[in-house]
Amino acid sequence: MLLIKLDCAGKKYLEKKFTLEINQSDFILVSGDNGNGKTTLIQLILGFIHPDFGLVESKKLKIGYLPEKAMLPLFIKVLPYLETLAKIKKGKLDTELILAFNLPILKSIHELSKGNQQKLAIISTFLGNPDLIILDEPLSGLDLESTLILKKHILKKKGEGMSFMISTHQPDLFMDMASIHITL
């Protein structure tokens, strides 16, 4: 089932034009040097920016989005944050992932380290029942153990039929899972 289609979509400030189809259960890996348009591609897919050329066609989707820089409300504790988010997304807290990441749930978000904030942002992204998950630099700030936990979790969700798009500077880690690899 087709979720999103980009047909020669691009921005004036970028030389590249994107043609891409994202289907259900796809795993799209995006890699490339800085400034080559990875984030622009993601923003076009999310509908945050409009293409100056070409078309972006999309169904009404629920997209779990992890931005490049973790964007979280700072003055709230981890557990109430996750509980409220799970409630409005009509999903359940993934206690397995929380425990695996060893996240201090009773701390306020501003007290968390960069790595823990990234883990929290990742858990938030998986909450609910998204049709597509877009992870922009998910490994930023993660140690090796957490990286492997994340990979295992992505593999599990992929098995359940979830679609993924991952933009990373370390594509080798996800190469075995990718159905499409875009190098910009």
């Binding site: 923003q43 999310l46 945050f48 920016i49 409009h50 009404k60 629920k62 997209i63 779990g64 989005y65 992890l66 931005p67 964007m71 979280l72 409300p73 700072l74 003055f75 709230i76 109430p80 944050y81 409220t84 988010l85 409630k87 409005i88 997304k89 942002a121 938030s124 992204t125 609910g128 998204p130 877009i134």
Partner: protein, 227 residues
């Protein structure tokens, strides 16, 4: 969704600022209410005292409330709403955001209205309820909604410091209306004016102005680029 936005946009730090601002307004009211006159004197000059109270309080409320509204609303555009936009869509988030701020504004103005009446009732012997106060408070509330729309429309995360110009502009327009009753300017910016606001149609005009503002803000917000 509203409760989720509430804990984000109205976090502990913000709630503290809100309570302090409310306290400042109450303390200012107490300062101007305090009188050394005896009960007999207060009752003897009741009309004079009442006139003074309402005049001063109206100035304080109409001067401080725009700043209060700005402090509460200036953080409405936050980067951490991006994942929420991606999941729920902009429309749902925007509607919830508007509903949340409408609730907060109504609550604040209700509290101010109650304090405006309760405080002198407790602290003085001269206070009598002036029926002119109710239209004034309604106008100030509608002004608060107009300012909220301006802030939703204009103030974005990257340049939120400029939000301070909005209450300053409100104050300047208020001063202008004190000396000049130019109806064209009132049509463009229907902020409280003791002259224009006495017309019954002023309420209706402000309501239409608010609805039009909301429609324009919604249209622009749904189509703007999020970077």
């Amino acid at each position: 969704m509203i409760s989720y936005l509430y804990i984000h946009l109205f976090d502990q730090k913000k709630r503290r600022i809100f309570m302090i601002s409310l306290l400042v307004i109450v303390l200012l009211m107490i300062f101007f209410l305090y009188t050394k006159d005896s009960v007999a004197e207060q009752l003897l000059f009741q009309t004079y005292h009442n006139l003074y109270y309402h005049l001063i309080m109206r100035r304080i409320v109409s001067f401080l409330m725009p700043f209060f509204v700005t402090v509460i609303m200036m953080d409405h555009d936050q980067a951490y709403l991006k994942p929420i936009y991606a999941y729920f869509g902009r429309k749902k988030v925007l509607i919830s955001k508007i509903a949340l701020y409408l609730l907060i504004m109504t609550w604040i103005y209700l509290v101010i209205g109650i304090i405006y009446h309760i405080l002198p009732s407790i602290m003085t012997s001269y206070y009598i309820l002036n029926t002119d106060t109710i239209p004034f408070l309604i106008h100030i509330y509608l002004d608060g909604l107009i300012l909220s729309i301006f802030i939703l429309w204009e103030v974005k995360d990257k340049h939120k410091a400029f939000a301070i110009f909005i209450p300053l502009f409100y104050t300047l327009v208020g001063w202008l209306y004190e000396d000049y009753q130019i109806i064209i300017i009132y049509y463009l910016i229907p902020f409280y004016s003791s002259y224009f606001s006495s017309f019954t149609l002023a309420y209706l005009y402000k309501l239409c102005y608010i609805l039009l503002g909301l429609a324009i803000t919604t249209k622009l917000t749904l189509h703007e680029e999020i970077k």
